[in-house]
């Protein structure tokens, strides 16, 4: 069972390398096949990091183009997926940076370890309070994620939405595994605190996050 598994993985990697070779020669069909498993994921990272679908779609296109343009530089000494996530994270950061610049708003830096995560959108009171359908609880939870400052949001998204391991997140964001750990811990604590406060007036939400 185990051997079969590894064989499957390596054949997948082999296929990936073949597609990369073809893509380098300008084969756009091969490239589409190469990035197909990642497109949706990239788009969804954008969707949670940025605030609307249009920006997320632009961001995903941008990332894929960067990958296409720079395939020659991919040396294969790390997983292709790691490289893809890295470019996605960087592109998101650039977009956030420039949009914050436009709006002349302070951008909480990605650094400082010993500060509590703050919500850049401190006002959550306009969030949907009626959670009688899945869609609405989804909107609420999405707003909770988007309420985190970018440096916490990115680890949260890569973990809970994309399902990356701590090591993969560390490689993508270029921080240590320990930092990933502490940021996730803080982000969760902050989101939960907010949700618990909201749940006091909202039995449906309370049921959703189990605090009754």
């Amino acid at each position: 069972m185990k051997t079969k598994n590894t064989a499957a993985v390596s054949s997948q990697q082999f296929e990936e390398m073949e597609l990369i070779k073809k893509s380098r020669n300008g084969d756009t069909a091969a490239f589409s096949e190469l990035v197909a498993p990642y497109s949706k994921r990239i788009y969804n990272i954008g969707l949670k990091m940025l605030n609307n679908r249009e920006d997320a779609a632009d961001m995903a296109q941008d990332v894929l183009l960067k990958i296409f343009r720079n395939l020659n530089r991919f040396r294969g000494d790390a997983a292709f997926s790691t490289w893809v996530y890295r470019i996605s994270v960087n592109t998101c950061r650039d977009i956030l940076r420039s949009s914050y610049r436009q709006h002349e708003r302070l951008f909480t830096d990605f650094g400082e370890e010993n500060e509590q995560p703050e919500y850049e959108v401190a006002d959550y009171s306009a969030l949907p309070e009626q959670l009688y359908e899945d869609r609405e609880s989804n909107a609420y939870l999405l707003a909770l994620i988007r309420g985190l400052t970018p440096k916490y949001r990115i680890v949260m998204v890569l973990r809970e939405v994309s399902g990356l391991s701590y090591q993969e997140i560390a490689d993508a964001v270029n921080i240590s595994v320990g930092t990933v750990k502490s940021r996730l811990n803080r982000a969760r604590a902050a989101m939960r605190e907010k949700a618990l406060a909201d749940a006091e007036h909202n039995p449906q939400l309370a049921r959703l996050i189990n605090c009754q």
Binding site: T28, S32, K48, N70, L106, D123, L141, V161
Partner: protein, 439 residues
């Protein structure tokens, strides 16, 4: 271990990323401590909820757009590779640009900034990211100086989370190139278009109110607010009262929805029932999200029609099957978007009023004692910050002088050269003049 220490590791534990000894410590503790066991359960459930947000499908035109972008990129790439055949030219051009920027920057700071000292150095640093990147080891110190300057924030990020590179994906020069390309792209395309003309559409705003109301007759007030909901075109969302046995304390809350246009009237009526002790209002503008969804919905409906057409003309079973599955997906998307729009319509036409109700005896004010501990904490951190700021200022003055030193030398050299030529020129003319007179 204490409960607190155990709970601090829940996050990594549920991710299966906790070291073995921590994982077993948690399991041991949780087996014995009921409170932590429940906390762990709740924590798990909360994160399951977050994870349930899940992924959304790609926009239906994503693949087509990608193909178009790739073809265009291929064309661009060809012209780019031609210019790449002379890499030294690129390097030279980059060097020249850098020199120019550096020159202008330091000239500017030495012309305008000399008298202003450190503060000018800060401003200059903030306005010249290029020069910034060049400073290598000095970067850290500058960073501390400019911490408070708003425009600097973005460079702090840039430094902390270094660009892709560093660990063997690219080398430094390549990173610079990628970033330059990215900048060019941003300048050319404006990849983030803001939807224009929003002012012509009806704004969609969700307005919510929250009140704390002290009343004498709890039951009457509760009943009256419920009635108000239906009188003003809405309904009771939810409510809750708590009766503690054997006590006269009554408190509870009630959420109602009423016609958004007349919410103010309802609040006036509620105010008549007792004393409003706390009152807050919030609004959330969902206009762009709303019309975003509407546009997407239209696109999907068009897509559905096209698919139907194709379906009627399909010949092979394979085509039929693939069309069917695509149609199922499109229809599901359409339904979900219609739901979203309905939901927004409801939220924007009916405002939510949250009323927290209580009888006077429950109203107690709590004053939290902060004590001397908090005071000394403030004094201590204030003092340390003061020391830091002083050190930073000294560092920045030093850096400032180091930075303008080359410019000063250059200016001095130019001045000396000018002086030299000026003198020679004068002497030359003097020598020539008499000659002419002699002729």
């Amino acid at each position: 271990m204490k409960c607190e220490d155990i709970r601090r590791h829940f996050s990594e534990y549920i991710d299966l990323e906790a070291p073995e000894e921590i994982a077993s410590a948690i399991e041991e503790h949780v087996a014995a401590c009921g409170e932590c066991r429940r906390e762990l359960e709740a924590f798990r459930k909360f994160n399951a909820a977050i994870a349930s947000v899940g992924e959304e499908e790609l926009p239906f035109d994503f693949a087509v757009t990608l193909q178009a972008n790739l073809e265009e990129e291929k064309k661009k790439g060809r012209s780019r590779s031609r210019s790449k055949s002379r890499p030294w030219l690129r390097a030279l051009a980059a060097c020249a640009c850098l020199m120019l920027v550096l020159g202008v920057f330091s000239l500017g700071s030495s012309l305008f900034g000399l008298s202003m000292g450190a503060s000018a150095a800060q401003d200059a640093a903030a306005s010249a990211p290029m020069a910034y990147a060049m400073n290598g080891s000095m970067k850290r110190m500058d960073m501390a100086v400019t911490e408070d300057a708003a425009p600097m924030e973005e460079y702090i990020i840039a430094e902390e989370e270094a660009p892709m590179g560093d660990n063997g994906f690219y080398d430094e020069a390549e990173v610079a190139e990628v970033e330059m390309e990215a900048d060019i792209d941003a300048a050319e395309g404006g990849s983030l278009k803001r939807s224009a003309g929003e002012s012509t559409v009806k704004r969609k705003i969700i307005k919510n109110y929250s009140l704390s109301l002290r009343v004498e007759d709890f039951d009457a007030a509760y009943k009256r607010i419920s009635e108000l909901a239906s009188e003003y075109g809405g309904y009771v969302v939810s409510g809750n009262t708590s009766d503690y046995e054997g006590s006269i304390v009554r408190d509870g809350w009630l959420s109602i929805r009423v016609d958004a246009e007349r919410a103010d009237e309802v609040i006036d009526h509620i105010a008549e029932l007792g004393t409003i002790e706390h009152n807050s209002f919030s609004s959330n503008d969902v206009t762009s999200d709303y019309y975003d969804t509407q546009t997407r919905l239209e696109q999907y409906r068009a897509q559905e029609e096209r698919l139907l057409e194709l379906y009627q003309r399909a010949e092979t079973i394979e085509d039929l099957i693939s069309l069917e599955s695509e149609m199922t997906r499109v229809i599901a998307e359409i339904e979900s978007m219609e739901g979203t729009l309905r939901y927004y319509d409801q939220l924007t036409t009916l405002s939510l009023i949250d009323v927290n109700l209580y009888t006077p005896s429950t109203y107690t004010q709590t004053v939290e004692p902060t004590g001397w501990a908090g005071f000394w904490e403030n004094v201590k951190s204030g003092f340390l910050r003061g020391i830091n700021n002083t050190l930073d200022s000294i560092a920045s003055i030093f850096i400032f002088f180091v930075r303008i030193l080359p410019t000063l030398i250059l200016l001095a050299a130019i001045a000396m050269l000018l002086l030299f030529f000026f003198r020679r020129g004068r002497r030359g003319r003097k020598e020539k003049l008499p000659k002419k007179e002699q002729e």
